[in-house]
């Protein structure tokens, strides 16, 4: 199979979380956002690893930003959504929408 990069489920979620957080953010808000939206506990290790993988694929770029004055913390790495990442999100959404089109779960559940 040619190495066509498919967006995995968790990668999809992480990219979406970044998009929700104005396109640029760092690990912690992503973890919190995911937990809040999905209602599940998210391993920070998974987010940590996924962010790096997405960066390697060119979906994200990163830079080190100084700590926000008046807040706890140290300099942290900010991740920004790149055009390739946006494209991947769009593609994934289309794929899902195509799959969803015409599915009537209520009928299946009833039968």
């Amino acid at each position: 199979m040619p190495q066509q990069e498919v967006l995995g489920g968790f990668e999809h979620q992480v990219l979406l979380a970044i998009a929700r957080l104005d396109g640029e953010t760092y690990t912690v808000p992503i973890v919190l956002e995911l937990q809040q939206r999905t209602g599940r506990e998210v391993a920070s290790a998974s987010v940590f690893v996924t962010l790096r993988r997405l960066e390697k694929r060119g979906y994200l770029s990163s830079r080190v930003a100084a700590a926000i004055p008046g807040q706890v913390g140290r300099p942290r790495r900010m991740f920004r959504l790149q055009p390739a990442g946006v494209a991947a999100l769009v593609e994934a959404r289309e794929a899902l929408q195509n799959l969803w089109a015409g599915v009537a779960l209520e009928n299946i559940a009833r039968s």
Binding site: F48, R74, R76
Partner: protein
């Protein structure tokens, strides 16, 4: 909150820096530190501090897994928990397998942990003192005589303490024995006499009360105060008001002023004195050689041992140089006493107090040996387990293949298998820790027993409770074990061979299971048998040595001998009272019907105490050596002080001359006389008659000639201990001319036919001694045979034999399990082949022979390798074996036979079962 106001708790940061470092780049480490800190901050309110801590750890522990796996996205799948849950399920599902595996590992890890705990207590754990590395021992060395050291007198100690520029403090002490009276029983306990700054120099504070004052230290000040050990306090009911009460030591009531801190043992490890008295009370405690009768205040009464605390930045070499300068000043001030003496320092010995520096305690070899032996046990256990895992892995091939087929990576399967291995290891390690603690408790109890057999009460501070070092070592053994037994099978089984495995119905995969005589599992069996044989041979050699030692011919008669030990100084008698007591005792005991002979003796064969003297021909003149030192030829001999009937009591003939007369043994009137044995006579006057000649004692001639002693008798040589094996020369002197307070009494009865008669005789002797003096402590009273059987050196040899037998038995046990397991599995896998053979006409016995022949070939290979290895190990053991050749044929043959038999039985059972299978059943199988 301010910037960086909440730094990470140290452990988390440490874990990120070091624990995760194999997986993280420097950049990622920095990122992660910031992330974790903020996440903790974010959850602090909702989770509470304990929940937060648990959450953080759970999150952190996932990093290594995620980072190594880093394949695909398992968004919600918590793979480490999954692995663990799965591993736990697998282990619970196979309780038989798990039980045996844990047992095998508990043995392997337990043996290692037990040994390590012991070595830790003996060699590694620092003594209880502040900055123990700064403490050094001081030795007074004679510059003219080679290797001649002496203890240090109190006035010299004071000079060193006041004038040195080397130490922040110097203490003086001597380890003695003292009688401790409790109720109407007097026990002999170890007592330290110490300078007032003894505890300060060690840097310890009293557990209760106070330590000594300078006034209490002054010689002959006789302030009735005593400090007792923590163990002493603990063993007597932890009396909260002990301080301020009085105890009776050496016949005198002393006020307890303090209790030492827990685990304090002074300068040596493990053993501690029970009571500490100030130097001012020196006369109260007798010491091994008895009181010299002279005051500690005399400069030529060399009785003390010194320990100093080096000033910061002073090395041992610096100390030697500075002390040499001090010593020459002391020599100028007191030339006749301090002539040619210098002072040197050396590291504290962990096990002994000596006048001369010791080069290690010889324990290093024993420690290395024991850890080596237990290492082999662990290795055998691991090989065993590897075998079991291989066998089981073959059964799980399809499971793994399915996992691989649906996308489980090889690393994932490997990780799963190693997780299972680690679970087993940890279970085994926990069980091993329990085994180890229990085993060491037994050892400490056994040590206490042998000390009390010697007539001593000594506090044993064998801290066998696992400390961090032991826990780390155990964890290390677990990891080592996991890798050793788990990695190989896991690596092999995680190999993706999907199609073959799924298609395969039954039988053997290529190269697995059967694999001919050199198959993987057979190699494991060979190495297991070889290693087990090494252990069995070692055990055999030690057992042989202990039997040899137990049946030693001491050169005198043991039967009908009875030994009594008493010590008049323990109840505070002076010399006149003591002599009178011994005279009355002798009369009384001799009058008992059935007693043939009785005699006092300063030291007894196989006793805790021996004494040695340098003997020379009285007529010899010293020769002056090249460096101006005077030398005179001497022979080192064991010395004993005895009564008139000593040789009758031991049933030794006087070969020439005569025994001591009653006058000589009762009073110091008359010319000085001695009896020597054949060995000494042969060394001093080869081939000549020693009777009527004169000897001198010591390495220096007495200028007044007063040390000339006439040899009046010649006796056969005897062995007084099992180490060294060869007999030593002896010199005997009469009790009357050489009094000491602590004496033993040998009694020879007419004939003791049975245990009842012996018990009755012991009872009579005890009654008679009580009748002479009800206060006199009877330290021991038993048959001579029992005395020797319970002696410390025999205990040591027996201990060696016991430990190695245990190791050997463990190895044998593991080997049998291993061989049985492998064979049972291998023949089970061959059921179909066996069925075909039988269908084609092979009989049951044909089949049995076939299987047995293959197995015994493997066993023989293992035995061959084991014999060669065993010979190598035996040559390393040679120095520890008592009177047994390291290539002792009995040990080698017996071990080989036992192992061969065990291997045969372990093979025969499964082979028999397989061979009796009917072709139909066999072909239907699977």
């Amino acid at each position: 909150m301010k910037n960086s106001a909440s730094p990470l708790p140290g452990l988390y940061t440490w874990f990120i820096r070091l624990g995760l470092s194999p997986w993280l780049t420097a950049r990622e480490r920095a990122d992660l530190t910031a992330d974790v800190e903020e996440l903790r901050h974010a959850y602090r309110r909702t989770l509470g501090s304990r929940g937060l801590s648990r959450y953080t750890w759970r999150q952190l522990l996932q990093y290594p897994i995620r980072l190594t796996a880093n394949q695909g996205d398992r968004s919600t799948m918590d793979s480490v928990w999954q692995d663990c849950r799965y591993a736990a399920r697998m282990l619970i599902k196979n309780p038989g397998f798990t039980g045996i595996a844990v047992l095998v590992l508990a043995v392997g890890i337990g043996a290692n942990t037990a040994t390590f705990t012991l070595m830790n207590a003996l060699l590694l754990k620092p003594i209880v003192a502040e900055a123990p590395h700064e403490l050094v021992a001081l030795y007074s060395k004679n510059l003219k005589l080679p290797d001649s050291f002496r203890p240090i007198s109190y006035p010299n100690f004071e000079d060193i303490r006041e004038l040195n520029t080397t130490f922040s403090d110097v203490l003086a002490h001597d380890l003695r024995t003292a009688g401790l009276r409790e109720g109407d029983v007097t026990n002999r306990v170890f007592a330290e006499i110490v300078s007032h700054n003894y505890f300060d120099t060690f840097g310890v504070a009293p557990f209760r009360g106070r330590f000594f004052t300078p006034a209490e230290e002054v010689p002959d000040s006789n302030e009735p105060v005593v400090v007792v050990s923590y163990e002493f306090w603990r063993q007597r009911g932890e009396d909260p008001d002990l301080v301020g009460k009085s105890i009776n030591v050496g016949g005198q009531d002393l006020t307890v002023i303090g209790i030492t801190p827990r685990y304090f043992t002074g300068r040596i490890a493990i053993l501690s004195a029970s009571v500490y008295v100030p130097l001012g009370m020196e006369r109260l405690v007798s010491g091994f050689g008895g009181s010299t009768g002279s005051s500690l205040a005399e400069r030529n009464n060399h009785r003390l041992f010194l320990v100093g605390r080096l000033l910061p930045g002073v090395s041992m070499e610096d100390a030697d140089a500075r002390l040499a300068a001090l010593a020459s000043r002391m020599e100028e001030s007191f030339p006749e006493i301090n002539e040619s003496q210098t002072i040197i320092v050396g590291p504290l010995s962990r096990l002994g107090i000596s006048t001369e520096p010791s080069d290690g305690d010889g324990l290093g070899l024993v420690a290395a040996l024991m850890l080596g032996m237990t290492g082999i046990v662990l290795l055998i256990a691991c090989i065993n387990l590897a075998n079991m895992l291989l066998a089981r892995g073959a059964a799980r091939r399809r499971e793994f293949a399915v996992r691989a087929a649906i996308g489980g990576g090889r690393l994932r399967i490997l990780r799963q298998l190693l997780t299972e291995g680690l679970f087993l290891s940890l279970l085994g390690g926990a069980a091993g820790l329990v085994v180890a603690t229990w085993a060491n408790g037994l050892l400490a109890a056994s040590l206490g027993e042998v000390l009390s057999n010697l007539g001593f009460t000594m506090d044993i501070v064998l801290r066998t409770e696992p400390d961090l070092r032991v826990l780390l070592a155990t964890a290390g053994f677990c990891m080592l074990g996991t890798l050793a037994f788990g990695l190989g099978p896991a690596w092999q089984q995680s190999r993706p061979d999907v199609m073959a495995a799924i298609k395969e119905q039954t039988g053997d995969a290529s190269g697995q299971g059967r694999g001919g005589p050199l198959g993987r599992r057979n190699l494991l069996v060979v190495s297991q048998i070889a290693l087990s044989l090494v252990m069995l041979i070692s055990a055999g050699l030690f057992v042989r040595a202990s039997l040899k030692a137990a049946n030693i011919d001491p050169g005198f008669r043991l039967d009908n001998g009875i030994l009594v030990e008493v010590d008049t100084s323990l109840v505070g008698y002076d010399d006149a009272q003591s002599k009178d007591t011994y005279r009355r005792l002798s009369e009384r005991l001799q009058s008992i019907p059935g007693v043939q002979a009785m005699s006092v003796a300063a030291t007894v064969p196989f006793g805790a105490v021996s004494s040695g003297r340098d003997v020379r021909r009285a007529e010899d003149q010293p020769t002056t050596g090249g460096d101006g030192s005077e030398e005179i030829e001497t022979v080192r001999a064991r010395s004993n002080i005895i009564g008139a009937q000593y040789f009758e009591a031991l049933d030794l003939p006087v070969l020439r001359g005569r025994a001591f007369t009653a006058t000589e043994t009762a009073s110091d009137a008359g010319p000085k006389v001695a009896i020597i044995d054949e060995l000494l006579a042969e060394s001093l006057w080869p081939g000549q008659d020693p009777i009527g000649r004169f000897i001198g004692l010591g390495r220096v001639r007495d200028p007044e000639g007063g040390d000339e002693i006439e040899v009046v008798g010649l006796v056969p040589s005897i062995s007084e201990d099992i180490f060294p094996a060869e007999r030593r020369p002896h010199v005997y002197r009469p009790f009357g001319q050489n009094f000491q307070a602590a004496m033993n009494i040998h009694v020879r009865a007419d004939s003791i036919t049975d245990d009842d008669a012996r018990a009755a005789m012991l009872q009579t002797i005890r009654r008679e001694i009580r009748a002479v003096d009800g206060r006199l402590p009877i330290i021991s009273l038993r048959a001579l045979e029992d005395h020797i059987a319970e002696s410390a050196s025999l205990w040591l040899v027996r201990l060696g034999a016991t430990i190695f037998s245990i190791f050997g038995a463990l190895a044998l046990f593991l080997a049998v399990i291993g061989v049985y397991g492998v064979k049972a599995y291998a023949v089970a896998r061959r059921t179909r082949e066996i069925g075909i053979r039988k269908a084609l006409g092979a009989t049951t016995s044909d089949t049995l022979r076939l299987i047995l022949r293959e197995s015994m070939l493997v066993a023989a290979a293992g035995l061959g390798v084991g014999l060669v290895l065993g010979a190598g190990v035996a040559s390393l053991l040679a120095s520890l074996l008592y009177e047994v050749s390291p290539y002792d044929p009995v040990a080698f043959l017996a071990s080989t036979a036992v192992l061969a038999l065990a291997a045969f039985v372990a093979t025969y059972l499964p082979a028999q079962r397989a061979a009796s299978v009917t072709p139909v059943t066999a072909l239907r199988a699977d």
